[in-house]
Assembly symmetry: D3
């Protein structure tokens, strides 16, 4: 695997030209219940990035381990950075990558809270450098396989957290950081107002677990992650070959 | 060593209260000649932070691996982020750490280019939260020992780069990333104007090495780093006990 | 219905105290195919707001008719404003409403592209004035009824535009602006990459219609809108009675 | 009259080319005494814009109904937005209009407090797109006719509010929103310091009426507004024909 | 006269308490025709401030010699700074003055182009520190005396420049910088559009003189300036004694 | 000496072309003990600039007399402006100077606290206008001569203040503002933490004097300043002849 920061400046120029693709894992430091570490989203992003890089010949950049953690920022251990700060940093990184000769910048995201910042950063880069390809990937195309694999209903239509699903991801990708003996079942009733008014999660959960973490297995994780990985690779490879439409 | 992102949210609260100190390693991705990796400053910051954390009972946060690399941004492999972006992110992190119960935030910096942003972020935090102790450490108090240890004159009065000194640091702290067989001697003449007008380094060096990297040894690194570590620990411990003067 | 801008300054204070709730319709000027007007999202937001206001005793503020139209900004007639500008304005309005004595600020949104700005503005207001209740409503809770009502598949999992659904909304809420004789069927293949990389819509549609507008009927619109309205009213009424949890 | 948001995207392109001019009515929600509605400045801007559009073949954009209301922001019913937010939004709108093919952007302003933001936005647009013609119009050239028409002295050299003059405007342009039975006479002594230090109007008036609203008549309004309209049309038509001097 | 920057830090505290008032002269570097220097507005502000300070016991701060010069920025010798920069600096200065113990901050302005920035800065200070008195003075209350004194009509209703009037000011306040042998008569026709669209002055004048500078005399200057000075002193003294109304 | 603001707009264009260089003296208003005035840094910058201008044929701009005074902002008489405000203003000035035809912009700085802002402003100008030469000069190259001249050790490795050295500067350059009868000896122990954590100077000094001001002499000042001046002139002249390397 091509680890960008382990390269030296003399050799890297040619390798960038050959590879063309830089992957930035981006996660967060955030409460994930009693059984998962604060760095869960960082480990997931990092391991996913490594797998994608290996199969696509892309470079992996060092992980950006701080993310937008508004909803859980009052839980022990969470570190929150604002969308503004995150967007600024990501745009700067993107501009540098383009100047260094990369043609594609892939952000592999392990934390849903980052989605707004990643999309906005991508649009700003698109506006400044239309020919530069920028992707933001958060487990693309796993809805169907997730529905098949899961044994419990999701606590929320669009987000999941420290639950059967995310714990399974960790068991598959970073098992050494999971303590299943501490896994709990905690399926909160998320009020419908949570989608329409600012709602820090302490209003409906004490554990920050949104589901039945006890049902997590490595196999479930593998099934979903495999689909996510295939989709990521397909998206990257398609974009590599397809000319930018602008 | 207390690795913050490996903690879980249930246990971490009590541990924060007990430790009180969070260390953020911060470096950069930057050209460091043919023999040192692009991530040199990240590895140095990370390894220093680990040593300090072990001896002080502080938590180590995940490394922030992107820094202000204006001077070398046109060299292959460098990734540059602006002071504005960096300051924004650091202030956000500091605010979260304070809300999480930390009483001290120690930035261990591996890259001189970050100095302005770190100091400015610390001042902004001081203005908002005067009782929160914020340190920015870049090899404090090593001037004398460095002068004793070095065999060649420094190419510049205040900065050093990929040279006898920094390569020695790496040999001591992260030897596995150094390729001494590629080390070179390249002592550029830095024009005095470089201190008074914007001067990207390609104006005076092709290698980005400012000195004789061949003279680097693990022992030299250990001598200087030991002094730096002692000073860092003394600064942290003094600040821990001394009441904030505001 | 209480139209805020038709009140005079002498009487309004008491009425604000009695009503407590201000509704801001917010839409956009945006291409909506050959059969719907550029102001479709404004008319929808305005008419929805009027209905909600009538039944809840809320005040209706003048419509904010400019929204974030990134995706369609290159289509004839679209006017795009940035998230930054929109957030700034919405936060200012929210602060004034709170100072005027309102306890709740309800943004009724007719344009999906505004969602990020509305949520961010709501969070900023929550951070500054935690006791002030801020809602952002975009057809809440209509997924099931929409699935029942629609005859064609949606062209995209999360957005719809100028199609069977939105045209039905207009037929129910603002029929006088619809020209069904010009309605077209245009179901584009939206590439999966559109969810992961900046993709102006001209890359996959010429009409800006995402579906079969010919199938739109007033009755379909009424069915879905009725559910949306019930949900909006329930959300507002629940929040009115429930004490803010902070 | 060409109402922009009632056009459809298919037809609008050709019409823009033919018309060339977009008019944005901009007002405010602001206390206007007991006899005039909070939306007075919006109604005035809107009705003026309609008249100008009809005679010049310009498009009328939807009204921007929120303005800078610093001086009266503590009066019941006022909603204040900052110059920064307003400038941002207006510049965004202007850029879009230019991209859509308009050659002239006319802001018809009903609220003096917006004057700074409009001028600044126009200058920013001028700097970015020098060939784009941007006008900001606030009853141009009515000094003489106003002096002739008015029966009472103005309470202030440069602003008027809810008084003989503005009430006459409303009687002529939007009579249905005026309640002359509530009109009052209230000629405050405005201290000379009000021009040289921040002075919220509650320091010198309780009613927000600056004059004798009882003397207002439709005829007075018509006389002044007719001059204003003629001047607006002349300014627009002259600018249309005259080549931009840059 | 109390020149602030000539005081030492030991004595100044007591003197600030006694005086209470700080005067900031603010001007610009701007083209003023062939007979007046680029620093005209700086000299005027500085000399006015000295006279006011002498009679009121106020401190004079060092002159801020850079101003907003949008209209004349393309004329030889003009230096333009943006409203944003100017506002930022003035707010910073105001905050410091308040922290230093001043109760009043008087900006004596020699350049009309600064008016927007000064007013905005004053409002920001008012919002942050309501009890701090901030004045922005630009020849207050001289309209009548100017009309009496002048022999030629003004070229524009609200601004004058390097003309009979401003040249007379300089002859009275800073005669040593005036070269009357070069004074010219140049009364441009300023198009009415100049008040409603961004209009750099090169569109209507080559000289930057707006009037008949040849008619300027020291006596005319003295007459008008004397009134301005009296008004300034009255405003300052009234505000000193009157309690702030908030 | 060419004083920019004393030129008139008619003659200045040709003179700018001939001279090519604009010097901006920049200082601060800051506590300097009992014997030196608050404006010490302004007087030093101004007098240095005059000497440099005379020998190089450069223009001297009016002094910017407000600087970043974070460390001493709580001392009587200090006025602090933020880095952001200062950078904004300096960039604006630089852009204007370039548009006016200057090829070099030399900031002669009398206050160390401005160093960050000056360097950042220079880099922003370099990024926007690479061919425009921007210098920031703070007593360049005086380390050796200072070490020779001084009789007491410096209280700090990188800064000096109101001490033997700076007082000597003033005695040589602006003797009329120095009151040696009030000079004191006050050599504080500056804690090493002052270099690594925000440390307002009141934490270690009451006088703001960092050394033995009594030892100051005009001769010492002359010796050091002469070297500084030679270096400044050499830097300017070299940069004048050398083509910009970009």
């Amino acid at each position: 695997m091509l680890i960008f920061q382990n390269e030296n400046s003399y050799d890297v120029k040619g390798k960038i030209e050959k590879s063309g693709v830089a992957i930035l894992p981006i996660g967060a430091v955030e409460a994930h219940g009693p059984h998962l570490p604060l760095g869960t989203d960082n480990y997931l992003a990092e391991r996913l990035a490594a797998k994608v890089a290996e199969k696509t010949g892309a470079f992996v950049l060092p992980t950006l381990p701080y993310g937008q953690v508004w909803s859980l920022k009052n839980f022990p251990g969470s570190i929150n950075v604002s969308n503004e700060s995150l967007i600024g940093l990501l745009v700067d990184i993107g501009i540098s990558l383009h100047q260094q000769g990369f043609s594609m910048f892939v952000m592999i995201n392990g934390h849903l809270g980052n989605a707004v910042a990643l999309k906005e950063a991508a649009r700003k880069l698109y506006s400044d450098i239309p020919e530069f390809k920028v992707l933001y990937l958060f487990y693309p195309g796993v809805k169907q396989i997730t529905d098949e694999v899961r044994e419990t209903q999701s606590a929320h239509a669009s987000y999941f957290h420290a639950c059967e699903i995310e714990t399974s991801y960790m068991l598959y990708l970073a098992e050494e950081f999971v303590d299943m003996s501490k896994a709990i079942t905690d399926i909160p009733v998320i009020p419908s107002s949570a989608d329409v008014t600012p709602t820090p999660w302490e209003e409906f959960t004490r554990s920050a677990v949104l589901g039945d973490a006890k049902l997590a297995t490595k196999e479930k994780g593998e099934k979903i992650i495999s689909v996510a990985l295939e989709n990521m690779m397909a998206l990257i490879n398609n974009m590599r070959t397809a000319p930018k439409q602008n």
